[in-house]
Each structure stands twice: as structure tokens, then as C-alpha cells.
């Protein structure tokens, strides 16, 4: 996916202006998710769970080479074909070979953010393969030609009205059709696709090194169908998705479900163990593509590696009051919200993702929601600091900061500034700041006199 993260400020402003319905839809849905998460967290010793999950992930990440090799061995033993992909090119090669050899015409896809990173859909389409996203939300945005706007709820920005209109235009359903009726129409199309597809594509929530098991969580059953009906299944797995032991799933499956949707467990959990053996049903061919795409570089970053603990649950998006205003599209890359703001600069580059670490008030709600305790606020600060050190800040900001420092370093200048605020002309460098402030708010009205002047009278009056 081509990143447009640098346009975040403009895109966010434009969306708020032009599509106010998005704010309403996203706020409503995220608050709903957030309430459910809080309830689900409160049912369990969540602090203990988060600490344990963090410890397991940190352990895997600091022994990643070992666990990757173990996972590969176990997968091979099960007859799974294992591929290593540094980025989209290698991933596409794997698909190209399969498409050519098996004469693939139709693919069904489970929801996967990694395949968004890799541009799997456009690549398959360029080969003449018809691709069906089979997660209902993902299917909707595929029809609209839009990228996902949320890690878990890709169509979170759409209202029921918009979906009704879309289905009316595409399938001729009545404009007042019930959500159930609309889902029924999608189900019909997708059932046909499941039964006729030659290729199933998925991501993975976890890959267990000990057993070579892929774990996939979902609520619709489409992932199970996508990975079991077609003769070939390809799973794209980010290097950070490893867990050491099968028993770790006992913690990570419910923790992820609680964080993501407030469920105790997702409706479906599929533990996949390789191609069908004789007499079994299932895919003949299973491929696991282990994808780096910037992850080892991030792992080597002593200040930013903790982002790799991420489970892609979306809890931080739901908790984020900044994300809630716009949804994910303005962020301009696969991962949006707080986790996107700290992950994207690592996966892309800071130049490309510059505005994203600033898309936060540092309110800290994301950290409280995160099931693996990624210190998002301090990572945001780290990226901001690096951006400044690299000289990426806009000119007005540099000038304003310089003026600010000068004023605040000197009590005499500060007092002068105090007077300026009450009538004298303000330093030129601070004017753009003032304009940006007053445009949407009333004029700035300082107290008649600053406290540091009032203090002396307080002293006298109180006789001290």
C-alpha cells in the first residue's frame, strides 16, 4: 500500500469538513467497543494478564531467531511449505508461482492487515485473479474501493444508510432493507465465492513455534471457510506473530478477544495444522509466508521495538479520542490510530510518516487499553523528538519554539511578554500560533493582571 501519511493534517481536516457522518459513525462504534472492553477487562485480573502477555511477547521478541527456526521446522514436518519474504516483492513471487501452477482464477480472502501492507489484492488482480474479501466489513469497503479504516472493524466509518445505498446500487436491494437482509445478500455472493475459489488467503493472529500451529480468530466463520474450502491456503504471517508454546494461546486468545471487542473469546477460533492428510478434508496445499517488511529493523531499534508486541486488537484505536474524530483513513497507511502513529514511522520512515506521531494529545488512554502494555505515549514522544532532531518540523514551529525558549529562559522577558499579552504587540513569531488558536475559539482573554503581580499584594494584605 502506498503511504499518504504525510497528508494527515489536511486529510483529517477535509474529512471533518466534508464527511461529518464519518465522525458520528466512528465515535459511536468505538465508544461501543470501548464500553465492552472495559466491562470485559473488569471481569478478570487484567493487570496480571497484561503483564504476563507483555512478558511472553518480550521473551519471543528477544529470542526471535530461535522461535522462527523452531516454527519453520514444525511447519515443514506437517507438510506446510514455508517461504520467507522480506517485503511485497518476495510475497508476490510466492503468489505468482501458485497462481500459475494451479491456474488460480478466484481467491477468497480472510481479513488481514499484513496483506494490506503487501498489496496482495492489487497484485492478484493484476494477474487476472478475482479476489473476494470475505469479512463482511472488508467486503463492503472492497465494493467501495476503500482501504480499511480500523484494524478490527474495517468499515467502521460507514453508516447503515451508506451501506443500504451501496447495496441498492450493486444488488438492487430496497433502500430500507434491514441489516439482516443486507448481510443475507452478501452471504449469498460470498458462499458462491467460497465454493468456487481455487485459493484461500489469510493472515494469522498467532503462530505457535512449539507445534507449528496457526491460530486465527474471527466472528463470522469466513476465515474458517477461506482456509479450509479452497484447495490451496496461503497464510501471510508477520515475524512478530510468534508464540512459544501452544499453552500460551490460553492467555492470548481470550486477552485479544477482550481487548478487541470485549468478548470472552471470539466466536470462532481456528487452529490450523497443515494440509489435509489422506481421508481428511481441507486444503491440499498450505503455504506459510513469514514476512519481515521492516520488522527486523524495528526490532533492532532500542527505543521503538516494543511496538512489535502489538496484537492488532484495535483497542487503542477505540480508546483514542483523536482517532474517534476521523477514523483511520486520514492517517494514510495500513495502521491508524495510536498504534499506527508509533508503528508507521518504524515501518515506513519518519519523513514519510512525520505528522502521525503528532496525531495525539498524549492523553494516555491508549496505554490503559493496550493488552500488551505498549508504552504508546512515550513512543510518540520518542518519534517527535527524532522528528525535531531530523529537522522535520515546519518553519513556523521552529521559529515559535525559539521565541518561546527565549522568553521563558528570562524572567525579565517573561514579564515583558506578560505585558505584551495585555496590549503591547506580541513577538511576530508567535502570531501564527495565536491565529490558529483563535480561529475556532473565542479570543484569548488573559486575566486583567498576571498572578506574579498579584502575589505582592497578597503578601502585603496578609501581613507576611
Amino acid at each position: 500500500m502506498r503511504a499518504k501519511a504525510r497528508f494527515y493534517p489536511k486529510e483529517a481536516a477535509r474529512l471533518l469538513q466534508e464527511r461529518p457522518g464519518v465522525r458520528e459513525a466512528v465515535t459511536g462504534a468505538t465508544l461501543h467497543f470501548e464500553r465492552n472492553r472495559l466491562r470485559a477487562y473488569a471481569e478478570v485480573p487484567i493487570e496480571e494478564w497484561r503483564e504476563r502477555a507483555k512478558a511472553v511477547k518480550d521473551h519471543v521478541l528477544s529470542h526471535l531467531d530461535r522461535y522462527l527456526e523452531e516454527a519453520e521446522r514444525r511447519l515443514l514436518e506437517k507438510g506446510v511449505r514455508v517461504h520467507w519474504a522480506e517485503g511485497p516483492e518476495e510475497a508476490h513471487q510466492v503468489l505468482l508461482e501458485i497462481v500459475r501452477r494451479r491456474g488460480v482464477r478466484r481467491a477468497v480472502k480472510a481479513k488481514s492487515m499484513l496483506t494490506e501492507e503487501l498489496g496482495v489484492n492489487p497484485f492478484l488482480e493484476s494477474l487476472g485473479v478475482e479476489v473476494f474479501e470475505t469479512d463482511l466489513g472488508e467486503y463492503l469497503i472492497q465494493l467501495l474501493g476503500e482501504p480499511p479504516s480500523h484494524i478490527v472493524g474495517p468499515a467502521i466509518h460507514l453508516s447503515l444508510e451508506e451501506i443500504r445505498r451501496l447495496f441498492h446500487e450493486r444488488f438492487g436491494t430496497p433502500l430500507e432493507a434491514s441489516p439482516e437482509a443486507l448481510a443475507g445478500v452478501a452471504r449469498k455472493v460470498l458462499r458462491e465465492a467460497f465454493l468456487t475459489a481455487d485459493l484461500g488467503i489469510s493472515g494469522a493472529n498467532f503462530l505457535v513455534a512449539e507445534t507449528g500451529t496457526l491460530a486465527l480468530m474471527e466472528n463470522e466463520g469466513n476465515i474458517r471457510l477461506s482456509t479450509s474450502l479452497p484447495r490451496v491456503h496461503v497464510a501471510f504471517v508477520g515475524l512478530e506473530k510468534l508464540l512459544p508454546r501452544l499453552s500460551d494461546l490460553a492467555l492470548f486468545l481470550p486477552l485479544t478477544a477482550r481487548a478487541a471487542t470485549g468478548q470472552r473469546l471470539s466466536t470462532y477460533v481456528s487452529l490450523l495444522g497443515g494440509p489435509a492428510k489422506e481421508g481428511e478434508e481441507g486444503p491440499e496445499e498450505v503455504h506459510v509466508v513469514l514476512v519481515d517488511h521492516g520488522r527486523t529493523a524495528l526490532l533492532a531499534d532500542p527505543e521503538a521495538w516494543e511496538t512489535l508486541r502489538c496484537l492488532r486488537c484495535g483497542a487503542c484505536l477505540n480508546a483514542c479520542p483523536v482517532y474517534r474524530q476521523t477514523g483511520g483513513h486520514p492517517y494514510g497507511y495500513v495502521y491508524s490510530g495510536p498504534i499506527g502513529a508509533v508503528l508507521d514511522p518504524g515501518l515506513l520512515s519518519l519523513e514519510e510518516a512525520y505528522p502521525l506521531p503528532y496525531a495525539s494529545t498524549l492523553c494516555g488512554a491508549c496505554y490503559e487499553a493496550c493488552p500488551v502494555k505498549i508504552p504508546i505515549p512515550s513512543l510518540l514522544l520518542t518519534w517527535r523528538h527524532r522528528a525535531v532532531a531530523q529537522g522535520l518540523s515546519p518553519t513556523w514551529e521552529k521559529a515559535a519554539l525559539k521565541a518561546y525558549r527565549k522568553v521563558m529562559e528570562s524572567p525579565a522577558l517573561y514579564r515583558l511578554f506578560s505585558k505584551a499579552l495585555r496590549g503591547l504587540p506580541l513577538p511576530q513569531d508567535l502570531l501564527p500560533l495565536l491565529r490558529a488558536w483563535t480561529e475556532g475559539r473565542g479570543s484569548l482573554r488573559p486575566s486583567p493582571r498576571p498572578f506574579h503581580e498579584l502575589w505582592w499584594e497578597l503578601e502585603e494584605k496578609d501581613g507576611r
Binding site: T361, G364, Y404
Partner: protein
């Protein structure tokens, strides 16, 4: 308690925009038998620079703040955000500085100081029947862990804290955020204001939040008294 002595750090925003919070804090602390100093030379703690990534500027201001307050036994601020800057972020900004570490333990937001250090939970009954909307400043709430202290002090003075579904949500101020991403910042203020209960006064620990919310209210034509927590706490005491 007569021995107790605190240094007031008014913070630049309160100094300029909510001077009455400083007056109220001084009167209240003195009324409770605490001696109050106001170290000359104090300006800004450096938070705006720190949060925006300009750590060199922030470091300069952190060092001078440490100097200005080096004699203080306690540093009390009518701001949760600046208190957290001093308490939590100075040690990060000045790694290896024992001075910053020792200093951080002396720093308190006003209501936190009253409840946790002075052990005062009842100031008086000056807020009898006053309907209050309380905005939890994010840094007071999530970085300092100050949630109950202000509510206890207000409620014990007779105020009614109104239920507000967005009470713990960020108001959208965020320092430079408010001017770097003004549209998003304002949308966040609108979310707070559109859920605001029918209160007589809106209050919070932080001048930045109040400045932002009251500015937005003025633009939207809403009319509600906005008062810093320190002011209400003095009213709680003095009636």
C-alpha cells in the same frame, strides 16, 4: 502543620489566564496553616517544548525550573499536567540527574497535596448545592493518578458532581496539538461540550483544558461559568 512550607509554581498558563487560581491557592494553603513561597524567576516548566519533541529547549527550562525551586520542601501546582511534567518527565528528560529524581518526589498538584500530604478532605461547605461538571485533565488522571481527590474535596463541600459520559475523555487541548491539528482539536472539544451536563460551573485542574473548552464555548455561544479547581476549593473553604 505550622511547620509546613510549600513553594507555589503558578505555571505560565495559570499565571496569564487564570491568575485567580493562584490567589485562591495561596489563600487556601495559608488558611490551612501552610506557609507559601512564590519563588521569583519561575516561568514555564518546558512541557510545550517537551511534548512537541523539542527536548533541547525543554531541557534548558527543566534545568532552570530545578534551580528556581531547589530550596523548596514541597512544590505545589494548580495544574495536573505541569505537575506530571515535573514529577514524571523531568527524570526522563534529564537521565542520570539525581537532582531531577529527588525533586520529582516533592511535586504535587494542589488537590493531591491537600488530600495526600495534608490529609485534608473537608474544606468547608461553601459549595452547597452547586452543580459541577468536572473535567478530568488527562495528565492529572492518567499520569498522576489524581481521580478521587478533587471529587472528594468538591463533594464534601456540598457540590453535586454531575454525571458526564465524557468526563474522563481528553478535551483536545494537548498543547501544540491545539494549533498543529486545530480541526481535530476542536472536534474533540465539541464532543466534550455536546455531552456536557446542565451544570452551573465547569472545572478542572488544568488551565490549558479550561482555556480550550471555554474558548470553544464562546465560539459556540454557550454560556457557563468556567473556573479552575483552585478557585472552587477556596470557595469551598471561604463560602
Amino acid at each position: 502543620m505550622g511547620e509546613m512550607r510549600v513553594a507555589l509554581f503558578i505555571t505560565c498558563l495559570a499565571d496569564q489566564f487564570y491568575a485567580e487560581a493562584g490567589v485562591a491557592a495561596v489563600r487556601l494553603l495559608r488558611a490551612l496553616g501552610v506557609e507559601v513561597d512564590f519563588p521569583e524567576g519561575q516561568t514555564c516548566c518546558g512541557q510545550p517544548a517537551f511534548n512537541a519533541g523539542h527536548w533541547e529547549e525543554a531541557r534548558t527550562l527543566a534545568r532552570r525550573t530545578l534551580r528556581v525551586f531547589q530550596e523548596a520542601e514541597y512544590v505545589v501546582l494548580p495544574s495536573g499536567s505541569c505537575a506530571s511534567m515535573l514529577r514524571n518527565h523531568y527524570p526522563e528528560l534529564l537521565p542520570g540527574s539525581r537532582e531531577a529524581l529527588a525533586f520529582s518526589e516533592k511535586v504535587y498538584e494542589l488537590s493531591q497535596f491537600l488530600v495526600r500530604v495534608l490529609g485534608v478532605e473537608r474544606l468547608g461547605e461553601g459549595l452547597k448545592g452547586v452543580r459541577v461538571a468536572y473535567h478530568h485533565g488527562c495528565h492529572a488522571l492518567r499520569e498522576l493518578g489524581v481521580r478521587e481527590e478533587p471529587l472528594t474535596l468538591l463533594t464534601n463541600a456540598g457540590a453535586e458532581i454531575l454525571p458526564w459520559e465524557a468526563a474522563e475523555e481528553c478535551c483536545g487541548f494537548g498543547g501544540l496539538f491545539s494549533v498543529k491539528l486545530p480541526e481535530v482539536s476542536l472536534a474533540m472539544a465539541d464532543r466534550k461540550l455536546s455531552t456536557l451536563p446542565e451544570a452551573q460551573v465547569l472545572t478542572s485542574t488544568d488551565a490549558g483544558c479550561l482555556l480550550h473548552l471555554s474558548g470553544r464555548m464562546a465560539k459556540r455561544g454557550a454560556n457557563l461559568r468556567v473556573a479552575p479547581l483552585a478557585t472552587l476549593l477556596w470557595e469551598a473553604y471561604a463560602g
